[in-house]
Symmetry: C2
Subunit: 272 residues, 2 copies
């Protein structure tokens, strides 16, 4: 049996009762550790559950053979930060398990896709979500720009998910046949805005005005130290959000209740 269990966003107590019961009954517990970041360590989860939590890194998760082979004869709990359906790779794992005749149970939880509503923007007024990945010297994908433009033209909000690279292989080493991992890095709001403005300056369609476009920065949503701020891109880029994970929302048209809610997070001289 394979349990895919969402952990929610903050700490060990964001798991559901159903999820915790499945962990307690599991013979083996894995934590998927590369598509998202929880507010606490894997070791803290082990202490809370009273059983060892093993790391499932990118190779193990995407390869999946070891997990599926274990799930044929044992109860395997596969823990995912947020909701199990927040990343393509988990949907793939479920499909492969089903094909091999392994029973799968999914235990849902909050993800940033719904918890983003905390800033007061209505979730049903969001358009397509975009992902911003770290630019490199020769790879600066900018398809997010057209998606943001399209959402804004329809009056819709855009949630920007920011890159999390926990265990990326160094490409130069890989080309020499050697697997060396880059140090982990997680994109901040400030870095995201730098990349947004880089694309605005090259595309010049006046979608992202750094002074006039007011956006929402979200840091550590669901953690005890979560932080939400509303201001111009320029203000947000300078604001002290503290450690990641961060997300950014580019609002569309605002309903008066949304506007009122956002005002309560407005950056002022006092809170900068």
């Amino acid at each position: 049996m394979l349990y895919l269990i969402g952990l929610g966003l903050g700490d060990e107590k964001d798991i559901t009762i159903k999820g915790l019961e499945a962990v307690k009954n599991a013979d083996l517990v894995f934590l998927e550790s590369y598509t998202s970041v929880l507010g606490i360590s894997r070791e803290s989860l082990s202490v809370f559950y009273g059983k060892e939590v093993l790391e499932a890194d990118r190779e193990m998760t995407e390869g999946a053979e070891e997990i599926l082979s274990l799930a044929k004869t044992k109860n395997v709990a596969f823990l995912v930060v947020g909701d199990p359906f927040s990343a393509t790779t988990h949907a793939d794992l479920i499909l492969r398990a089903r094909k091999e005749g392994i029973p799968v149970q999914v235990i849902h939880n909050a993800s940033i896709l719904n918890a983003a509503g905390k800033c007061g923007l209505q979730l049903y007024r969001f358009g397509e979500t975009v992902s911003l990945v770290f630019f490199t010297d020769n790879w600066k994908p900018d398809s997010f720009y057209d998606k943001i433009a399209r959402n804004r033209a329809s009056g819709l909000h855009t949630l920007c998910l920011l890159d999390i690279q926990m265990k990326e292989p160094n490409l130069e080493s890989l080309a020499r046949g050697k697997v060396v991992y880059e140090p982990p890095r997680i994109m901040t709001i400030s870095q995201a805005i730098e990349q947004l403005l880089y694309v605005e300056h090259s595309r010049k369609q006046n979608i992202l005005d750094e002074e006039k476009l007011f956006c929402v920065g979200l840091a550590r949503i669901g953690h005890a130290t979560e932080c939400i701020a509303y201001g111009s891109l320029q203000q947000l880029a300078r604001y002290s959000f503290g450690p990641p994970p961060h997300s950014l929302i580019i609002p569309g048209e605002l309903h008066f209740l949304e506007a009122e809610h956002l005002e309560s997070f407005r950056i002022t001289k006092e809170n900068t």
Copy 2:
């Protein structure tokens, strides 16, 4: 103190540990009972928590005075099916609490907006969500049609949330100054498709072809008896999904992994 606590989608065990702790510490516990439906009764929650769970109906929730007044001196837990940010009215409650200086803590959970990913469609490839309300003889709002058309033109999926009317006043009685409530009704996939096709037949833009457009019906997602089926609108309208809550997804362009996942839910002669 006001706790807004998401209950998730299925039963009493979908609450998080953090949520359950807040309920246990609360002086008063209310269940918001009109924007959504859990798989179990309010009484079952009372038994599970070992304390009385009071009903917060539409008037009490939207009025909010009683809840806010209690939260000034007591710990009040306000339970919401799904996530607290799935309905505008909860965002309004938070705003009003903050204005009155009442501390608010939100405890997130899964909502249909992310659990819809269970059918295998990627959540970041959804466009604007639409809500279908029950048509009446003289009120047949059809703005969803343009939104679905816009999403499909961009290759995006559309989640259709179906109407839940738990305690609607009868308008004729209201006009005579008397409040009489209609019996509760929750829209099924079959009723939703009937309304979609009604609008297609009057607008004739060929967005919703009842034989050629393949969609996803979702019933009781997160409940033990959940049901997902993939087929033409005609097939879905006839399929036995069992009791509500139901939702419907109108897919946009499919990634091959999405298509593979949907095929596993395909309606065949055997499972009709």
